[in-house]
């Protein structure tokens, strides 16, 4: 156990801190769930990329910086502490990226990864279908092999920002006789291909945060756009689902920053604290939860660095960060009282309505990337070994 950073790590932190201090937009960007904000965020991502700070853990030849996971944690700490913009291309960078590194051909890696790192290509995900949500294996969209191509028909849904994105990745049933997890293929589809129709879905906050994507005889070349083996898409996707729930998707720094802001909010409202003395516990529990999550991340990174694999722990992580995020924002709403309902556009909104936005977004946490009910089943069955139903 050696809990000091190396000189290199400290230098890296200093560099990132200085760069962010200089470059982080002074005025918050417009929400990336709008066309305008989306492009603002793409610009920001390009800027990060130019400084080789977009995907610090990716190898240099693929647009990254070759950092290790400790440096990644440091980067994230500085990034959230600086209040830098939300990352708009997480689907590409955190879900598809690692999948391509593991399953992609050399050609696919060269072609896609640098453009993901730079966000020249923005990616939407195509997991869910109207009847395949928690039950992802119920996928019906078909991809029929026709010569060198796949011809895709069907529908995906809950594709985050697909209305603005350039590409979509997802699972399609390539063996029409197959059932459940079998006979699926993992395909990459440009969203401007003929036959693709995108219908936006408005989220709770009224913005077009996701979309339905319809495929009508959409043709993509197999050699270039199939990831992994034909019919083995489930295995490819599951690796990605592991990443998603795992370490990278929700770095601890995010919640530590929220906890810090919550403490500031609490201290700025002493008259509420006096009327509601139990708030103190909620606030310190928020800090303890975020701190524990961060320490757990360092511990896990240490184990991974020694060769360990992340298993069902990823499911615990998902439950913990999503419920922590809810708790932090619920506590903020409790402090704000009657001011909590004010939207960002309201003149008297506190912090530009960011607590309310965060509160709304936190509602989705226990649902997406596999509901917490499913995650708890996984923990119980795979980690504890309890019998299946």
């Amino acid at each position: 156990m050696q809990l000091t950073y190396t000189a290199e790590q400290n230098n890296f932190r200093a560099e990132v801190r200085a760069w962010l201090k200089k470059n982080t937009p002074k005025k918050p960007l417009v929400s990336y769930d709008t066309r305008e904000g989306f492009e603002q965020h793409r610009e920001w991502e390009c800027k990060l990329y130019d400084a080789r700070l977009s995907m610090v853990i990716w190898p240099e030849h693929l647009g990254g910086r070759g950092c290790d996971l400790i440096e990644w944690l440091i980067f994230e700490e500085e990034y959230y502490a600086a209040g830098a913009p939300m990352r708009v291309n997480q689907n590409g960078q955190l879900l598809l990226g690692p999948t391509l590194m593991e399953f992609g051909t050399e050609e696919q890696k060269r072609r896609f990864l640098p453009r993901i790192a730079s966000s020249e290509d923005m990616w939407a995900q195509g997991w869910s279908e109207p009847n395949a949500g928690s039950d992802m294996a119920a996928i019906r969209s078909r991809a029929v092999r026709d010569g060198d191509d796949f011809v895709i028909n069907g529908q995906k849904t809950w594709s985050t920002r697909a209305i603005f994105a350039d590409w979509i990745f997802g699972l399609f049933r390539s063996d029409p006789e197959s059932k459940r997890h079998h006979g699926l293929s993992y395909l990459l589809v440009p969203l401007d291909t003929p036959g693709v129709t995108i219908r936006p879905i408005k989220a709770l906050n009224g913005k077009e945060a996701f979309a339905e994507v319809f495929f009508d005889d959409v043709r993509v070349p197999a050699a270039e756009n199939l990831v992994g083996e034909e019919g083995k898409g489930w295995q490819v996707a599951m690796a990605t689902a592991g990443f998603e729930r795992g370490l990278l998707l929700r770095s601890p720094a995010r919640f530590q920053q929220t906890a810090k802001r919550l403490i500031e909010l609490y201290k700025a409202n002493p008259e509420v604290a006096e009327r509601d003395p139990g708030l103190r516990d909620a606030v310190i529990e928020g800090w303890m939860g975020a701190q524990a999550y961060a320490q757990a991340a360092y511990h896990t990174v240490g184990l991974v660095n020694k060769g360990a694999k992340i298993g069902a722990e990823a499911s615990i992580n998902k439950v913990v960060w999503s419920e922590l995020d809810l708790k932090l924002h619920e506590t903020a709403m409790r402090i704000l009282g009657a001011r909590g309902e004010l939207r960002g556009s309201a003149r008297e909104a506190v912090d530009g309505g960011s607590w309310l936005e965060g509160f709304l977004f936190a509602q989705a946490g226990p649902i997406y990337a596999g509901t917490n009910e499913i995650q708890r089943n996984i923990v119980a069955e795979r980690m504890l070994g309890l019998p299946r139903a």
Partner: protein, 350 residues
């Protein structure tokens, strides 16, 4: 000792319930919620015809002169159908305030008659609410000024509008200059105190109705939505989420009823009981929202699922007429007092 409602009260609730169900199918309800004034003119007219606005207006002013115990059966229905705040604020809270004024005042009688007839909308500016709801829909606003009660015409009040997560609520920061002409009563402190309790009980009732609506919607969704080859409502975790909501609702109800009775009879426990009711009902609504969206899954996070309307009202009403901090403090003050009447012999005051 009979802690139930009589047949007339229940029949009236039943009638209003049928009326609202017919008038407010989900698509109409949503349309109202998304429009500027949160309640169509036509619907308002029909509510007036049903006697809703005159429910507690004195008979002398053309109303039904019913008390808080009748209202407490109706506010849950108004919550269930997400009727905008201005209805309860006018017909229950403001009417209660006006009715409590000394009889004979011509402005009192004019306003009450106007309310019963559906011609006058009244907003209430009580200091417990930093912002006034739906000033833009009101003809008159009742304002506290150093314990006095003033009534000002809307035009006489300047306000700045803030938007709420609940689209049916527009929140105004008002600035007024009360004058002797606008004064209804010089010493209005007791009435203001009672009005706060009435406002809280009105919100509590709506919150209870919101909770019931979200529960009903969640049960229906969970019974139809299939995953892993069966309805999601057949999974034990989903069942327990919704059973917990049902529990909160069932045990908030009598607390709400108790508060209404205390209000109607000016009992000394009114502050305590109305705060308890506000906390219990809003807790039920908060949980119904959380478990509702969880049961709905991604669909619950969308604008198109009606669930959002009820969730957002639940979140907004949680702090209307006193936030949790306020009401918990009042409960603490009452039950921790040295002369508090607590314990099994004091379920009902003696």
């Amino acid at each position: 000792m009979d802690f139930t409602f009589n047949e007339d009260q229940l029949a009236f609730r039943e009638a209003i319930s049928r009326f609202l169900a017919a008038e407010l199918p989900p698509e109409v309800l949503r349309k109202n919620w998304e429009t500027e004034d949160g309640c169509s003119r036509e619907l308002h007219r029909k509510m007036v015809e049903q006697g809703l606005t005159g429910l507690s207006v004195p008979e002398a002013q053309g109303g039904l002169e019913m008390d808080d115990t009748a209202w407490v059966l109706l506010t849950p229905l108004l919550g269930y159908y997400a009727i905008a705040d201005s209805v309860v604020d006018t017909a229950y809270t403001a009417t209660g305030l006006l009715s409590a004024l000394p009889e004979g005042d011509h402005r009192r009688e004019e306003l009450l008659t106007g309310i019963a007839g559906g011609d006058v909308g009244v907003a209430v500016a009580h200091q417990v609410n930093p912002l006034v709801v739906d000033m833009d829909l009101a003809d008159v606003v009742l304002v506290e000024f150093e314990g006095e009660i003033h009534a000002l015409n809307q035009e006489a009040v300047s306000y700045e509008c803030n938007t709420s997560i609940d689209s049916s609520r527009r929140l105004g920061r008002i600035s007024v200059q009360p004058a002797p002409e606008s004064r209804l009563l010089e010493n209005g402190r007791d009435i203001w105190a009672e009005t706060l309790n009435r406002g809280a009980v009105g919100v509590a009732g709506q919150a209870l109705g919101l909770a019931q609506r979200m529960l009903d919607m969640s049960v229906e969704y969970a019974s139809q939505r299939q995953q892993f080859g069966k309805p999601v409502g057949s999974f034990q975790a989903v069942k327990h989420h919704l059973a917990d909501v049902a529990e909160k609702i069932e045990f908030a109800k009598p607390v709400l009823y108790r508060a209404a009775h205390a209000l109607a009879n000016n009992e000394r426990g009114s502050d305590l009981y109305s705060s308890h009711a506000k906390l219990a009902c809003c807790e039920a609504a908060w949980l119904a929202a959380r478990h509702g969206i969880q049961v709905y899954g991604a669909m619950g996070y969308t604008w198109e699922a009606d669930l959002q309307i009820f969730m957002k009202r639940a979140w907004a009403l949680d702090s209307y007429w006193g936030d949790r901090a306020f009401h918990k403090s009042r409960v603490a003050e009452a039950v921790l007092a040295d002369d508090a009447l607590i314990g099994p012999q004091h379920t009902f005051e003696e």
